[in-house]
Amino acid sequence: MTPADVIVEAGRLAAEGKPYALATVVNVVRPASARRGDRAIVTPDGRVTGWVGGACSEPSVVREAMRALADGEVRVARMDGECASEGVVEVLIEPVLPAPLLAIVGESPAARTLAELARTVGWRVIDDRVEGADAVVVATMGHGDEDLLAAALRAGAGYVGLVASSRRATSVLAGLRAQGLEEEEVLRVRAPAGLDLGPSTQDEIAVAILAELVAWRHTRPGESPVPVEAVDPVCGMTVSAESAERVEHEGMTVVFCSAHCRARFEAEPERYRVGTS
């Protein structure tokens, strides 16, 4: 697959709303098996499509790609020669995450403003269903709130909010309990939705909800969990604690980026300081 093919594949994933990280080799100090401009796509299952270097750099690129998918930040992974018989390879890793899908059901003025504002921060907004949405805001002013909230909870939306006075919120939540919903589920409903900014107008309530949505988006546990990390005592690289290259040393598990580093450690363990950081 050529770098151009990788771009085509990336476009396809983006169009389908699937998350991936695009890895591009931006700098090479020879000898190295990758060339500047080589590209690969890393999907959340750790699969690599394309080429950014051989067996040595690929695990590091995958690890950094997972971190990028988890925190949404662009980063540069630098693979320095010690890890293998290679020079230096620097890879730019850009996470491409689909915009979260926000369902806003109901006709209140706050709902309309929220829909417009949410689009400006890059969310996709729908108003005809709650299924498949990452976040659901119910703002019907009393027309079937309980049913919509129950549907949103059943559909597994991560954020479920109700636009209401705290008094009405209490009665709606009571209604959910009466429908037989588990307490744990009922407690997932943010009611009233939005950060408490004081007595607010409808437009201000929309901002308060959007602020809560932004906070929720950036603090919710990532769908691609960041693996626990350890440091390769030989080359100093951060590696996954799950790395297959490992030895038991003085009662500790020591992990390495590669068989090469493991071999160097095993040859002269006293040369290296062992620790997790």
Binding site: E116, R167, R168, L195
Partner: protein
């Protein structure tokens, strides 16, 4: 009432009577705020809304009665109210709505003042013998209506003769955004949503272009401190300093702190903020004054993109503006 002014003007031009229903008070969360208006023309046309559909049919009926010669009336609708259930709309909260006629000749002066961004208020007596009596109020007048107008608020005032409701048509409050950075465009957009008249100012002409800032009321190329020193500022004014360059920040913040602006925020990392505060202290600004600056600007909601930062700033502005300020104790 602002949203129906144009329609009212058109109706008033025919000289035919118009009825207006005005939200004069709400309890708990109501769909629309005090000052919201539903207008009904003599021929039965409708403009605006008082609850976004909850009690409109009932209110429309009252308006028709008033148009047919009925007396002005103050009605209450609420979730626990039999009447709300009768109309079949169990909306949250309670709303108090005053329904009466609006003299066509009152409409033109209000519309004109709004167009020219001159503050004006409509004062309506809603209880007592003179219920329905109206007058226009400007900042030159004395009394509680002018005070509400100065703050841009709508609300009920108790007087010995009964209650009055004041609808303020204050010009939009000013938001000054300094630093023509990416964040400024996002802050300007959300500022306009919140009803601010937004000015973006930067000394660097090449950054201050309509292409970069399509959504602002005014673009100014000038040193921020110089511009701010000559700009109107009152307690509804919002000042956002986004330059994060001490060369611009320090003089701008010094001028901002001399005003009674309701919100002053400054962008920058924690470290930038600390060194900025040191510089301000070195220039004689007191810690109390520095405490007025919200920095780093915006609520901490984990914002990453400029648009998300703008949401954090907007949320903080609302929070600050909605918190009653401590009464100043005379020295």
């Amino acid at each position: 009432m602002r949203d129906v002014l144009e329609t009212l003007e058109r109706w008033a031009a025919t000289g035919a009577p118009v009825a207006i229903a005005t939200v004069v008070g709400t309890e708990r969360s109501a769909p629309r705020d005090p000052g919201a208006v539903l207008a009904v023309s003599e021929s039965g046309d409708v403009a605006g809304s008082v609850t976004g559909g909850c009690v409109e049919p009932a209110v429309y009926g009252e308006a028709r009665e008033v148009l047919a010669g009925g007396a002005p009336r103050l009605k209450t609708y609420g979730i626990a109210d039999e009447e709300a259930f009768e109309v079949g709309l169990p909306c949250g909260g309670t709303v108090h709505i005053f329904v009466d006629r609006l003299d066509p000749e009152l409409v033109a002066p209000i519309a004109e003042a709004v167009r020219e961004e001159r503050p004006i208020a409509l004062e309506v007596r809603i209880t007592g013998e003179d219920a329905g009596a109206k007058r226009l109020v400007t900042l030159d007048d004395e009394g509680p209506a002018a005070e509400l107008l100065a703050r841009g608020d709508n609300g009920i005032v108790d007087t010995p003769e009964g209650q009055i409701f004041v609808s303020s048509f204050a010009p939009r409050p000013n938001m000054y955004v300094f630093g023509a950075v990416d964040h400024a465009a996002a802050v300007a957009s959300i500022g306009r949503y919140l009803g601010y008249r937004v000015t973006v100012c930067d000394a660097r002409a090449k950054f201050v272009t309509p292409a970069r800032f399509p959504d602002v009321d005014e673009l100014v190329v000038e040193w921020p401190d110089k511009f701010l020193a000559g700009a109107p500022v009152d307690e509804r004014t919002v000042i956002c300093v986004l330059t994060h360059d001490h060369k611009f920040d320090i003089p701008t913040l010094k001028v901002a702190l001399e005003t009674n602006a309701g919100y002053i925020g400054a962008m920058g990392s924690r470290r930038t903020n600390e060194s900025r505060n040191e510089r301000l202290r070195a220039e004689g600004v007191t810690d109390e004054e520095i405490a007025r600056i919200h920095a780093p600007i915006g609520l901490k909601i984990g914002s990453r993109t400029p648009e998300e930062v703008a949401v954090a700033i907007a949320a903080q502005i609302i929070q600050v503006m909605r918190t009653p300020r401590p009464q100043e104790v005379p020295a």
